[in-house]
Amino acid sequence: MLGEGILKGLAETAKNFAGSYVSKERLTTVQYPEERIPTAENARVFPFLVFDGKDWESGLRCVACQICEKECPPKCIYIEKSKDKKPDYVGKPQFYPARFDIDVSVCMSCQICVEVCPFEAIKMNTEFELATDDRFGGLLLDRHKLAQSNEYYHKIHPTEAAEVDARLAEEKAKTEAKAKAAAAAAAAKASAAAAAPKPAESATEKLAEPPAKAAESESKQGGGGQ
Protein backbone atom coordinates (compact mmCIF):
# COMPACT_ATOMS: atom_id res chain seq x y z
CA MET A 1 0.00 0.00 0.00
CA LEU A 2 1.06 3.58 -0.60
CA GLY A 3 3.18 4.94 2.20
CA GLU A 4 4.78 1.71 3.33
CA GLY A 5 8.18 2.86 2.19
CA ILE A 6 7.77 6.10 4.05
CA LEU A 7 7.08 4.25 7.28
CA LYS A 8 10.10 2.06 6.72
CA GLY A 9 12.23 5.10 6.13
CA LEU A 10 10.89 6.79 9.23
CA ALA A 11 11.78 3.72 11.27
CA GLU A 12 15.29 3.76 9.84
CA THR A 13 15.91 7.41 10.71
CA ALA A 14 14.42 6.89 14.15
CA LYS A 15 16.85 4.02 14.65
CA ASN A 16 19.72 6.26 13.60
CA PHE A 17 18.53 9.05 15.84
CA ALA A 18 18.25 6.90 18.93
CA GLY A 19 21.33 4.88 18.06
CA SER A 20 23.55 7.92 17.81
CA TYR A 21 22.92 8.60 21.49
CA VAL A 22 23.55 5.01 22.53
CA SER A 23 26.43 3.70 20.50
CA LYS A 24 29.50 5.82 19.97
CA GLU A 25 30.54 3.85 16.89
CA ARG A 26 27.76 5.47 14.92
CA LEU A 27 29.20 8.92 15.39
CA THR A 28 32.18 8.93 13.11
CA THR A 29 32.74 12.66 13.38
CA VAL A 30 36.19 13.68 14.59
CA GLN A 31 36.01 16.77 16.78
CA TYR A 32 38.80 18.44 14.86
CA PRO A 33 40.78 20.91 16.90
CA GLU A 34 40.70 18.65 19.95
CA GLU A 35 40.86 15.29 18.23
CA ARG A 36 42.95 14.74 15.15
CA ILE A 37 43.47 11.94 12.77
CA PRO A 38 47.26 11.52 12.24
CA THR A 39 48.08 12.56 8.71
CA ALA A 40 48.92 9.81 6.29
CA GLU A 41 52.59 9.35 5.61
CA ASN A 42 52.33 10.25 1.95
CA ALA A 43 50.17 13.29 2.63
CA ARG A 44 51.38 16.44 0.96
CA VAL A 45 50.38 20.04 1.22
CA PHE A 46 52.99 22.61 0.25
CA PRO A 47 56.76 22.32 -0.31
CA PHE A 48 59.46 23.08 2.22
CA LEU A 49 63.24 23.31 2.03
CA VAL A 50 65.38 20.74 3.81
CA PHE A 51 68.46 21.84 5.71
CA ASP A 52 71.08 19.77 7.45
CA GLY A 53 72.68 20.47 10.74
CA LYS A 54 71.56 23.03 13.22
CA ASP A 55 71.70 26.34 11.39
CA TRP A 56 68.97 26.70 8.78
CA GLU A 57 70.73 29.32 6.70
CA SER A 58 74.02 27.60 6.18
CA GLY A 59 72.56 24.10 6.13
CA LEU A 60 70.13 24.56 3.24
CA ARG A 61 70.63 21.87 0.65
CA CYS A 62 69.35 24.17 -2.05
CA VAL A 63 72.01 25.52 -4.37
CA ALA A 64 69.68 27.86 -6.24
CA CYS A 65 69.84 25.91 -9.47
CA GLN A 66 66.36 27.25 -10.29
CA ILE A 67 65.13 24.03 -11.91
CA CYS A 68 62.09 23.97 -9.69
CA GLU A 69 61.35 27.59 -10.49
CA LYS A 70 61.34 26.75 -14.19
CA GLU A 71 59.31 23.58 -13.83
CA CYS A 72 56.68 24.89 -11.46
CA PRO A 73 53.39 24.84 -13.46
CA PRO A 74 51.69 27.71 -11.65
CA LYS A 75 54.99 29.60 -11.25
CA CYS A 76 54.70 30.05 -7.55
CA ILE A 77 58.41 29.77 -6.78
CA TYR A 78 60.72 32.78 -6.94
CA ILE A 79 64.44 32.25 -6.50
CA GLU A 80 67.24 34.82 -6.48
CA LYS A 81 70.66 33.29 -6.87
CA SER A 82 73.31 34.65 -4.59
CA LYS A 83 76.07 36.75 -6.16
CA ASP A 84 78.79 35.19 -4.07
CA LYS A 85 79.50 31.63 -3.24
CA LYS A 86 79.15 30.94 0.38
CA PRO A 87 80.88 28.01 1.95
CA ASP A 88 78.24 25.56 3.01
CA TYR A 89 78.62 23.74 6.25
CA VAL A 90 81.26 21.39 4.95
CA GLY A 91 83.25 24.40 3.96
CA LYS A 92 82.80 24.08 0.23
CA PRO A 93 81.79 27.21 -1.76
CA GLN A 94 78.35 26.94 -3.36
CA PHE A 95 75.69 29.24 -4.65
CA TYR A 96 72.84 29.59 -2.26
CA PRO A 97 69.37 31.08 -2.64
CA ALA A 98 69.48 34.73 -1.58
CA ARG A 99 65.72 34.62 -1.84
CA PHE A 100 63.49 31.62 -2.06
CA ASP A 101 59.78 32.49 -1.96
CA ILE A 102 56.82 30.20 -2.48
CA ASP A 103 53.39 31.74 -2.80
CA VAL A 104 51.24 29.02 -1.29
CA SER A 105 48.07 30.76 -2.40
CA VAL A 106 49.21 29.92 -5.94
CA CYS A 107 50.86 26.58 -5.30
CA MET A 108 48.76 23.62 -6.38
CA SER A 109 50.64 20.92 -4.47
CA CYS A 110 51.63 19.06 -7.64
CA GLN A 111 54.99 17.96 -6.22
CA ILE A 112 56.78 18.59 -9.52
CA CYS A 113 59.41 20.73 -7.77
CA VAL A 114 60.20 17.78 -5.53
CA GLU A 115 60.51 15.43 -8.45
CA VAL A 116 62.85 17.62 -10.46
CA CYS A 117 65.15 18.66 -7.62
CA PRO A 118 68.54 16.92 -8.09
CA PHE A 119 69.68 17.82 -4.58
CA GLU A 120 66.79 16.45 -2.55
CA ALA A 121 66.51 19.97 -1.24
CA ILE A 122 62.77 20.55 -1.57
CA LYS A 123 60.15 18.22 -0.10
CA MET A 124 56.44 18.28 0.58
CA ASN A 125 55.21 19.37 3.96
CA THR A 126 52.16 17.98 5.74
CA GLU A 127 51.40 21.14 7.67
CA PHE A 128 47.95 22.33 6.63
CA GLU A 129 46.92 24.85 9.26
CA LEU A 130 48.20 27.82 7.34
CA ALA A 131 45.20 30.10 7.85
CA THR A 132 46.22 33.71 8.16
CA ASP A 133 44.49 37.05 8.25
CA ASP A 134 46.91 38.52 5.72
CA ARG A 135 46.21 36.92 2.41
CA PHE A 136 49.21 38.45 0.59
CA GLY A 137 52.08 38.54 3.04
CA GLY A 138 50.84 35.69 5.17
CA LEU A 139 50.71 33.22 2.33
CA LEU A 140 54.04 34.21 0.74
CA LEU A 141 56.52 31.98 2.52
CA ASP A 142 60.16 33.06 2.41
CA ARG A 143 63.16 30.77 2.78
CA HIS A 144 63.22 31.15 6.53
CA LYS A 145 59.66 30.01 6.87
CA LEU A 146 60.23 27.26 4.34
CA ALA A 147 63.35 25.85 5.96
CA GLN A 148 62.81 22.67 7.95
CA SER A 149 65.44 20.36 9.34
CA ASN A 150 66.13 16.88 8.05
CA GLU A 151 64.87 15.53 11.38
CA TYR A 152 61.52 17.11 10.64
CA TYR A 153 61.56 15.47 7.25
CA HIS A 154 62.20 12.15 8.92
CA LYS A 155 59.37 12.78 11.27
CA ILE A 156 56.72 13.48 8.66
CA HIS A 157 57.81 11.11 5.89
CA PRO A 158 59.98 8.43 7.59
CA THR A 159 60.09 5.90 4.74
CA GLU A 160 60.74 8.42 2.03
CA ALA A 161 63.38 10.24 4.10
CA ALA A 162 65.19 6.99 4.84
CA GLU A 163 65.25 6.17 1.13
CA VAL A 164 66.59 9.61 0.33
CA ASP A 165 69.27 9.30 2.98
CA ALA A 166 70.29 5.85 1.76
CA ARG A 167 70.53 7.11 -1.81
CA LEU A 168 72.57 10.08 -0.76
CA ALA A 169 74.84 7.92 1.35
CA GLU A 170 75.38 5.57 -1.57
CA GLU A 171 76.24 8.42 -3.89
CA LYS A 172 78.47 9.85 -1.25
CA ALA A 173 80.26 6.51 -0.85
CA LYS A 174 80.69 6.29 -4.62
CA THR A 175 82.13 9.76 -4.92
CA GLU A 176 84.31 9.20 -1.94
CA ALA A 177 85.70 6.03 -3.44
CA LYS A 178 86.30 7.92 -6.65
CA ALA A 179 87.93 10.70 -4.69
CA LYS A 180 90.05 8.22 -2.86
CA ALA A 181 91.17 6.62 -6.11
CA ALA A 182 91.92 10.04 -7.57
CA ALA A 183 93.71 10.99 -4.42
CA ALA A 184 95.72 7.79 -4.54
CA ALA A 185 96.65 8.48 -8.14
CA ALA A 186 97.56 12.03 -7.34
CA ALA A 187 99.55 10.87 -4.36
CA ALA A 188 101.43 8.38 -6.54
CA LYS A 189 102.04 11.11 -9.11
CA ALA A 190 103.31 13.65 -6.68
CA SER A 191 104.86 11.58 -3.98
CA ALA A 192 107.26 14.31 -3.12
CA ALA A 193 104.58 16.68 -2.00
CA ALA A 194 103.88 16.73 1.70
CA ALA A 195 100.25 17.91 1.89
CA ALA A 196 97.99 15.13 0.62
CA PRO A 197 94.36 16.33 1.13
CA LYS A 198 94.68 19.25 -1.33
CA PRO A 199 94.04 17.40 -4.66
CA ALA A 200 90.90 15.71 -3.31
CA GLU A 201 89.09 19.01 -3.51
CA SER A 202 89.75 19.55 -7.21
CA ALA A 203 88.92 15.96 -8.08
CA THR A 204 85.54 15.97 -6.41
CA GLU A 205 84.32 19.22 -7.80
CA LYS A 206 80.95 17.77 -8.68
CA LEU A 207 77.56 18.99 -7.80
CA ALA A 208 76.52 15.91 -5.91
CA GLU A 209 79.34 16.16 -3.49
CA PRO A 210 78.24 18.45 -0.69
CA PRO A 211 74.82 16.98 -0.13
CA ALA A 212 76.34 13.52 -0.19
CA LYS A 213 78.60 14.50 2.60
CA ALA A 214 75.81 16.13 4.46
CA ALA A 215 73.60 13.13 3.97
CA GLU A 216 76.21 10.88 5.38
CA SER A 217 76.33 12.80 8.59
CA GLU A 218 72.56 12.99 8.63
CA SER A 219 72.05 9.34 7.98
CA LYS A 220 73.97 8.60 11.10
CA GLN A 221 71.63 10.74 13.13
CA GLY A 222 68.57 9.66 11.17
CA GLY A 223 69.46 6.00 11.51
CA GLY A 224 69.40 6.43 15.23
CA GLY A 225 66.09 8.21 15.00
CA GLN A 226 64.39 5.47 13.12
Partner: protein
Protein backbone atom coordinates in the same frame (compact mmCIF):
# COMPACT_ATOMS: atom_id res chain seq x y z
CA UNK B 1 -4.58 27.48 42.04
CA UNK B 2 -4.31 25.27 38.98
CA UNK B 3 -7.04 27.21 37.31
CA UNK B 4 -5.09 30.36 38.02
CA UNK B 5 -2.03 28.76 36.42
CA UNK B 6 -4.10 27.79 33.42
CA UNK B 7 -5.18 31.38 32.99
CA UNK B 8 -1.89 32.92 34.10
CA UNK B 9 -1.32 34.86 30.90
CA UNK B 10 -4.87 36.09 30.70
CA UNK B 11 -4.75 37.22 34.34
CA UNK B 12 -1.42 38.90 33.78
CA UNK B 13 -2.77 40.81 30.83
CA UNK B 14 -5.85 41.87 32.80
CA UNK B 15 -3.64 42.98 35.66
CA UNK B 16 -1.47 45.07 33.32
CA UNK B 17 -4.43 46.58 31.55
CA UNK B 18 -6.16 47.50 34.82
CA UNK B 19 -3.64 50.30 35.35
CA UNK B 20 -5.00 52.16 32.35
CA UNK B 21 -8.14 54.21 31.89
CA UNK B 22 -11.10 52.20 30.69
CA UNK B 23 -11.16 53.70 27.21
CA UNK B 24 -7.63 52.50 26.52
CA UNK B 25 -7.98 49.04 27.95
CA UNK B 26 -9.27 47.31 24.83
CA UNK B 27 -6.60 48.67 22.51
CA UNK B 28 -3.71 48.14 24.93
CA UNK B 29 -4.93 44.62 25.70
CA UNK B 30 -4.77 43.75 22.01
CA UNK B 31 -1.34 45.33 21.69
CA UNK B 32 -0.06 43.28 24.62
CA UNK B 33 -1.34 40.10 23.00
CA UNK B 34 0.23 41.02 19.67
CA UNK B 35 3.56 41.75 21.34
CA UNK B 36 3.37 38.44 23.17
CA UNK B 37 2.74 36.55 19.92
CA UNK B 38 5.54 38.41 18.17
CA UNK B 39 7.88 37.60 21.06
CA UNK B 40 6.94 33.96 21.59
CA UNK B 41 7.02 32.61 18.07
CA UNK B 42 10.44 33.92 17.03
CA UNK B 43 11.78 32.37 20.24
CA UNK B 44 10.16 29.10 19.30
CA UNK B 45 11.60 29.58 15.82
CA UNK B 46 15.10 29.81 17.26
CA UNK B 47 14.42 26.69 19.27
CA UNK B 48 13.04 24.87 16.25
CA UNK B 49 16.06 25.73 14.13
CA UNK B 50 18.35 24.37 16.80
CA UNK B 51 16.20 21.26 17.21
CA UNK B 52 16.16 20.75 13.49
CA UNK B 53 19.90 21.03 13.11
CA UNK B 54 20.66 18.81 16.07
CA UNK B 55 17.94 16.30 15.23
CA UNK B 56 18.86 16.07 11.57
CA UNK B 57 22.46 15.62 12.62
CA UNK B 58 21.57 12.75 14.89
CA UNK B 59 19.46 11.12 12.18
CA UNK B 60 22.51 11.22 9.93
CA UNK B 61 24.80 10.09 12.75
CA UNK B 62 26.42 13.47 13.14
CA UNK B 63 26.66 15.71 16.18
CA UNK B 64 25.01 18.80 14.73
CA UNK B 65 26.04 22.22 16.01
CA UNK B 66 27.86 21.75 19.33
CA UNK B 67 30.33 24.61 19.53
CA UNK B 68 28.43 27.70 20.60
CA UNK B 69 27.60 27.40 24.26
CA UNK B 70 27.04 24.12 26.07
CA UNK B 71 25.88 21.49 23.52
CA UNK B 72 25.57 24.29 21.00
CA UNK B 73 22.39 25.71 22.47
CA UNK B 74 23.49 29.25 21.75
CA UNK B 75 23.79 28.53 18.04
CA UNK B 76 20.58 30.43 17.14
CA UNK B 77 21.97 33.50 18.90
CA UNK B 78 25.13 33.29 16.86
CA UNK B 79 23.10 32.78 13.68
CA UNK B 80 20.94 35.76 14.54
CA UNK B 81 23.89 38.04 15.19
CA UNK B 82 25.48 36.89 11.98
CA UNK B 83 22.44 37.54 9.82
CA UNK B 84 21.80 40.91 11.46
CA UNK B 85 25.32 42.16 10.90
CA UNK B 86 25.66 40.90 7.34
CA UNK B 87 25.57 43.31 4.47
CA UNK B 88 22.17 43.73 2.89
CA UNK B 89 22.73 43.27 -0.83
CA UNK B 90 20.14 44.25 -3.40
CA UNK B 91 20.92 43.23 -6.98
CA UNK B 92 21.53 46.12 -9.34
CA UNK B 93 18.71 45.23 -11.72
CA UNK B 94 16.33 44.21 -8.97
CA UNK B 95 13.03 45.93 -8.45
CA UNK B 96 14.05 47.56 -5.19
CA UNK B 97 10.59 48.31 -3.80
CA UNK B 98 9.11 44.91 -4.50
CA UNK B 99 12.34 43.27 -3.39
CA UNK B 100 12.03 45.05 -0.07
CA UNK B 101 8.32 44.44 0.36
CA UNK B 102 8.37 40.69 -0.27
CA UNK B 103 9.80 39.52 3.10
CA UNK B 104 7.70 42.09 4.93
CA UNK B 105 4.50 40.87 3.32
CA UNK B 106 5.43 37.27 4.10
CA UNK B 107 6.14 37.88 7.76
CA UNK B 108 3.06 40.07 8.25
CA UNK B 109 0.76 37.58 6.56
CA UNK B 110 2.18 34.68 8.50
CA UNK B 111 1.89 36.40 11.85
CA UNK B 112 -1.68 37.44 11.08
CA UNK B 113 -2.66 33.80 11.15
CA UNK B 114 -1.91 33.57 14.86
CA UNK B 115 -4.58 36.14 15.61
CA UNK B 116 -7.30 33.50 15.42
CA UNK B 117 -5.41 30.51 16.81
CA UNK B 118 -6.57 29.53 20.30
CA UNK B 119 -3.37 28.82 22.22
CA UNK B 120 -5.07 27.93 25.46
CA UNK B 121 -8.34 28.30 27.28
CA UNK B 122 -9.48 31.90 26.65
CA UNK B 123 -6.15 32.54 24.98
CA UNK B 124 -7.17 33.73 21.55
CA UNK B 125 -6.57 37.20 20.24
CA UNK B 126 -9.83 37.52 18.32
CA UNK B 127 -12.53 34.89 18.32
CA UNK B 128 -13.79 35.48 14.81
CA UNK B 129 -16.84 33.75 13.53
CA UNK B 130 -14.91 32.98 10.36
CA UNK B 131 -11.49 32.37 11.83
CA UNK B 132 -10.68 29.33 9.72
CA UNK B 133 -11.39 31.27 6.56
CA UNK B 134 -9.31 34.15 7.87
CA UNK B 135 -6.42 31.79 8.53
CA UNK B 136 -6.52 30.37 5.03
CA UNK B 137 -6.85 33.83 3.55
CA UNK B 138 -3.65 34.86 5.32
CA UNK B 139 -1.83 31.70 4.26
CA UNK B 140 -2.91 32.36 0.68
CA UNK B 141 -1.35 35.81 0.79
CA UNK B 142 2.06 34.31 1.43
CA UNK B 143 2.07 32.99 -2.13
CA UNK B 144 2.11 36.51 -3.41
CA UNK B 145 5.12 37.43 -1.33
CA UNK B 146 6.94 34.39 -2.65
CA UNK B 147 6.18 35.48 -6.16
CA UNK B 148 7.24 39.06 -5.39
CA UNK B 149 10.56 37.85 -4.01
CA UNK B 150 11.26 35.63 -6.99
CA UNK B 151 10.22 38.08 -9.63
CA UNK B 152 11.84 41.19 -8.21
CA UNK B 153 15.26 39.56 -7.84
CA UNK B 154 15.75 39.40 -11.63
CA UNK B 155 17.43 36.08 -11.26
CA UNK B 156 16.55 32.94 -13.14
CA UNK B 157 16.94 30.75 -10.09
CA UNK B 158 14.72 33.05 -8.06
CA UNK B 159 12.05 33.14 -10.71
CA UNK B 160 12.13 29.39 -11.19
CA UNK B 161 11.92 28.87 -7.46
CA UNK B 162 9.05 31.30 -7.14
CA UNK B 163 7.13 29.68 -9.98
CA UNK B 164 7.67 26.26 -8.47
CA UNK B 165 6.63 27.52 -5.06
CA UNK B 166 3.50 29.21 -6.30
CA UNK B 167 2.43 26.24 -8.38
CA UNK B 168 3.06 23.93 -5.47
CA UNK B 169 1.29 26.09 -2.92
CA UNK B 170 -1.77 26.51 -5.13
CA UNK B 171 -1.92 22.78 -5.81
CA UNK B 172 -1.68 21.84 -2.15
CA UNK B 173 -3.89 24.60 -0.85
CA UNK B 174 -6.88 22.80 -2.30
CA UNK B 175 -6.38 19.59 -0.27
CA UNK B 176 -5.41 21.64 2.76
CA UNK B 177 -8.72 23.48 2.64
CA UNK B 178 -10.75 20.42 1.77
CA UNK B 179 -9.24 18.36 4.57
CA UNK B 180 -10.28 21.07 7.02
CA UNK B 181 -13.77 21.18 5.56
CA UNK B 182 -14.64 17.83 7.19
CA UNK B 183 -13.97 19.43 10.56
CA UNK B 184 -16.22 22.34 9.65
CA UNK B 185 -18.89 19.88 8.56
CA UNK B 186 -18.74 18.10 11.90
CA UNK B 187 -18.40 21.11 14.16
CA UNK B 188 -20.83 23.26 12.25
CA UNK B 189 -18.65 26.29 12.75
CA UNK B 190 -15.70 28.03 11.17
CA UNK B 191 -14.59 29.33 14.55
CA UNK B 192 -11.46 27.61 15.83
CA UNK B 193 -12.55 28.18 19.41
CA UNK B 194 -15.71 26.18 18.73
CA UNK B 195 -13.65 23.48 17.08
CA UNK B 196 -11.52 23.02 20.18
CA UNK B 197 -14.53 23.09 22.47
CA UNK B 198 -16.17 20.39 20.39
CA UNK B 199 -13.17 18.13 20.98
CA UNK B 200 -12.63 18.96 24.64
CA UNK B 201 -14.58 16.11 26.23
CA UNK B 202 -13.77 12.52 26.97
CA UNK B 203 -15.26 9.07 26.54
CA UNK B 204 -13.89 7.20 29.50
CA UNK B 205 -10.39 8.54 29.82
CA UNK B 206 -9.81 8.87 26.08
CA UNK B 207 -10.26 12.21 24.34
CA UNK B 208 -12.74 12.85 21.57
CA UNK B 209 -10.24 14.28 19.16
CA UNK B 210 -11.19 14.31 15.53
CA UNK B 211 -8.05 12.44 14.58
CA UNK B 212 -9.49 9.28 16.15
CA UNK B 213 -12.45 9.18 13.80
CA UNK B 214 -12.06 7.64 10.34
CA UNK B 215 -12.75 10.84 8.42
CA UNK B 216 -10.68 12.82 10.91
CA UNK B 217 -7.76 10.46 10.53
CA UNK B 218 -7.91 10.65 6.76
CA UNK B 219 -8.19 14.42 6.97
CA UNK B 220 -5.26 14.49 9.36
CA UNK B 221 -3.05 12.51 6.98
CA UNK B 222 -3.95 14.79 4.10
CA UNK B 223 -3.47 17.84 6.27
CA UNK B 224 0.01 16.72 7.28
CA UNK B 225 0.96 16.14 3.65
CA UNK B 226 -0.55 19.37 2.40
CA UNK B 227 0.86 21.46 5.23
CA UNK B 228 4.33 20.06 4.57
CA UNK B 229 3.94 21.12 0.97
CA UNK B 230 2.42 24.50 1.93
CA UNK B 231 5.42 25.36 4.06
CA UNK B 232 7.87 24.14 1.40
CA UNK B 233 9.37 21.59 3.71
CA UNK B 234 11.19 18.50 2.62
CA UNK B 235 10.20 16.30 0.75
CA UNK B 236 8.28 19.09 -0.99
CA UNK B 237 11.15 21.56 -0.88
CA UNK B 238 11.53 21.93 -4.62
CA UNK B 239 11.11 25.70 -4.50
CA UNK B 240 14.32 25.98 -2.55
CA UNK B 241 16.08 22.81 -3.59
CA UNK B 242 19.65 23.76 -2.84
CA UNK B 243 21.17 21.30 -5.23
CA UNK B 244 19.10 22.54 -8.15
CA UNK B 245 18.26 26.20 -7.79
CA UNK B 246 20.44 27.41 -4.92
CA UNK B 247 17.83 28.78 -2.55
CA UNK B 248 14.91 29.30 -4.89
CA UNK B 249 13.04 32.52 -4.51
CA UNK B 250 15.28 33.95 -1.83
CA UNK B 251 18.55 33.36 -3.61
CA UNK B 252 19.14 37.08 -3.93
CA UNK B 253 18.37 37.91 -0.33
CA UNK B 254 21.01 38.42 2.28
CA UNK B 255 21.36 39.66 5.81
CA UNK B 256 18.25 40.72 7.61
CA UNK B 257 15.85 40.16 4.73
CA UNK B 258 17.08 36.59 4.38
CA UNK B 259 16.55 36.16 8.10
CA UNK B 260 13.01 37.48 7.67
CA UNK B 261 12.30 34.89 5.00
CA UNK B 262 13.74 32.20 7.18
CA UNK B 263 11.68 33.40 10.11
CA UNK B 264 8.57 33.65 7.97
CA UNK B 265 8.98 30.12 6.75
CA UNK B 266 9.39 28.67 10.22
CA UNK B 267 6.63 30.75 11.71
CA UNK B 268 4.38 29.58 8.90
CA UNK B 269 5.33 26.08 9.93
CA UNK B 270 4.24 26.90 13.47
CA UNK B 271 1.05 28.41 12.15
CA UNK B 272 0.01 25.37 10.14
CA UNK B 273 1.13 23.10 12.96
CA UNK B 274 -1.02 25.13 15.35
CA UNK B 275 -3.96 24.95 12.97
CA UNK B 276 -3.54 21.23 12.51
CA UNK B 277 -3.32 20.77 16.25
CA UNK B 278 -6.45 22.81 16.71
CA UNK B 279 -8.39 21.01 14.02
CA UNK B 280 -7.38 17.41 14.57
CA UNK B 281 -5.48 17.03 17.82
CA UNK B 282 -7.82 18.80 20.18
CA UNK B 283 -6.00 22.12 20.33
CA UNK B 284 -5.32 22.98 23.93
CA UNK B 285 -7.35 20.05 25.29
CA UNK B 286 -5.45 17.48 27.32
CA UNK B 287 -5.01 13.99 25.91
CA UNK B 288 -6.25 12.01 28.93
CA UNK B 289 -9.08 13.01 31.21
CA UNK B 290 -7.08 12.84 34.46
CA UNK B 291 -4.40 15.07 32.99
CA UNK B 292 -6.77 17.93 32.26
CA UNK B 293 -5.42 19.87 35.24
CA UNK B 294 -2.22 20.60 33.31
CA UNK B 295 -2.46 24.17 31.95
CA UNK B 296 -4.05 24.25 28.52
CA UNK B 297 -1.29 26.31 26.90
CA UNK B 298 1.25 23.65 27.84
CA UNK B 299 -0.74 21.11 25.88
CA UNK B 300 -1.06 23.39 22.90
CA UNK B 301 2.62 24.22 22.67
CA UNK B 302 3.63 20.62 23.41
CA UNK B 303 1.50 19.41 20.52
CA UNK B 304 2.86 22.07 18.21
CA UNK B 305 6.42 21.18 19.13
CA UNK B 306 5.63 17.52 18.57
CA UNK B 307 4.29 18.39 15.17
CA UNK B 308 7.46 20.35 14.37
CA UNK B 309 9.54 17.36 15.49
CA UNK B 310 7.58 15.23 13.08
CA UNK B 311 8.32 17.69 10.29
CA UNK B 312 12.01 17.42 11.15
CA UNK B 313 11.80 13.66 11.22
CA UNK B 314 10.18 13.64 7.79
CA UNK B 315 12.84 15.99 6.52
CA UNK B 316 15.54 13.70 7.76
CA UNK B 317 13.93 10.72 6.05
CA UNK B 318 12.58 11.53 2.63
CA UNK B 319 14.36 12.64 -0.51
CA UNK B 320 13.08 15.54 -2.56
CA UNK B 321 10.31 14.84 -5.04
CA UNK B 322 10.48 15.67 -8.71
CA UNK B 323 8.15 18.35 -10.08
CA UNK B 324 5.95 15.91 -11.99
CA UNK B 325 5.78 13.56 -9.01
CA UNK B 326 4.73 16.48 -6.84
CA UNK B 327 1.92 17.52 -9.16
CA UNK B 328 0.79 13.97 -9.82
CA UNK B 329 0.65 13.29 -6.13
CA UNK B 330 -1.42 16.40 -5.50
CA UNK B 331 -3.94 15.98 -8.28
CA UNK B 332 -4.10 12.22 -8.71
CA UNK B 333 -3.96 11.00 -5.16
CA UNK B 334 -4.42 13.67 -2.50
CA UNK B 335 -7.28 15.54 -4.15
CA UNK B 336 -9.49 12.52 -4.98
CA UNK B 337 -8.82 11.04 -1.57
CA UNK B 338 -9.77 14.30 0.15
CA UNK B 339 -12.90 14.69 -1.92
CA UNK B 340 -13.93 11.20 -1.02
CA UNK B 341 -13.22 11.95 2.60
CA UNK B 342 -16.01 14.52 2.44
CA UNK B 343 -18.36 11.73 1.40
CA UNK B 344 -17.14 9.59 4.29
CA UNK B 345 -17.79 12.45 6.68
CA UNK B 346 -21.31 12.79 5.30
CA UNK B 347 -21.89 9.05 5.69
CA UNK B 348 -20.69 9.28 9.27
CA UNK B 349 -22.96 12.22 9.95
CA UNK B 350 -26.10 10.50 8.69
CA UNK B 351 -25.56 6.91 9.85
CA UNK B 352 -26.35 7.59 13.47
CA UNK B 353 -24.55 6.34 16.56
CA UNK B 354 -23.27 2.78 16.78
CA UNK B 355 -20.39 0.55 15.91
CA UNK B 356 -21.62 0.03 12.37
CA UNK B 357 -20.69 3.51 11.24
CA UNK B 358 -17.20 3.07 12.64
CA UNK B 359 -16.81 -0.10 10.66
CA UNK B 360 -18.27 1.31 7.45
CA UNK B 361 -16.33 4.55 7.62
CA UNK B 362 -12.99 2.92 8.43
CA UNK B 363 -13.55 0.42 5.63
CA UNK B 364 -14.38 3.23 3.22
CA UNK B 365 -11.36 5.29 4.18
CA UNK B 366 -8.89 2.42 4.04
CA UNK B 367 -10.40 1.05 0.84
CA UNK B 368 -10.31 4.38 -0.95
CA UNK B 369 -6.80 5.03 0.30
CA UNK B 370 -5.60 1.74 -1.12
CA UNK B 371 -7.50 2.24 -4.35
CA UNK B 372 -6.44 5.82 -4.90
CA UNK B 373 -2.90 4.95 -3.97
CA UNK B 374 -2.85 2.08 -6.39
CA UNK B 375 -4.49 3.72 -9.39
CA UNK B 376 -3.42 7.31 -8.87
CA UNK B 377 0.18 6.58 -8.16
CA UNK B 378 0.66 3.91 -10.77
CA UNK B 379 4.11 4.15 -12.13
CA UNK B 380 4.84 4.04 -15.78
CA UNK B 381 6.98 1.09 -16.69
CA UNK B 382 10.25 2.42 -17.93
CA UNK B 383 11.95 0.04 -20.32
CA UNK B 384 15.65 -0.26 -20.84
CA UNK B 385 17.05 3.11 -21.56
CA UNK B 386 18.84 3.56 -24.83
CA UNK B 387 21.28 6.38 -25.04
CA UNK B 388 21.48 7.09 -28.74
CA UNK B 389 24.52 9.29 -28.64
CA UNK B 390 26.37 7.64 -25.81
CA UNK B 391 27.82 4.69 -27.70
Amino acid sequence: MLERLDQVFVLFKDWLVAFLPASWQGVVGVIICVVAIIAVYPTLFALAVLMERKGLGRMQNRYGPNRVGPFGILQPVADGIKSLTKEDIVPLRADAVVHFLAPVVLVVAVFMGFAVLPMGRNMVLVDLDTSLLFFFAMMASTELSVFMAGWSSRNKYSLLGAMRAVAQMISYEVPLLLSSIVIVMMTGSLSLVRVVEAQNHFTGILPNWYVFTPWGFAGFIVFVIASTAETNRSPFDLPEGESEIIAGYFTEYSGFKFALFFLGEYVEMFAVAGLGTTLFLGGWAGPISFLSWVPSWIWFFAKVELWICFFIWIRGTLPRLRQDQLMNFAWKFVLPFTLFNLVVAAVWRFMGEGWLRWLVCWALVVGVYALAGRSGMRREKIGTRIYRYAD
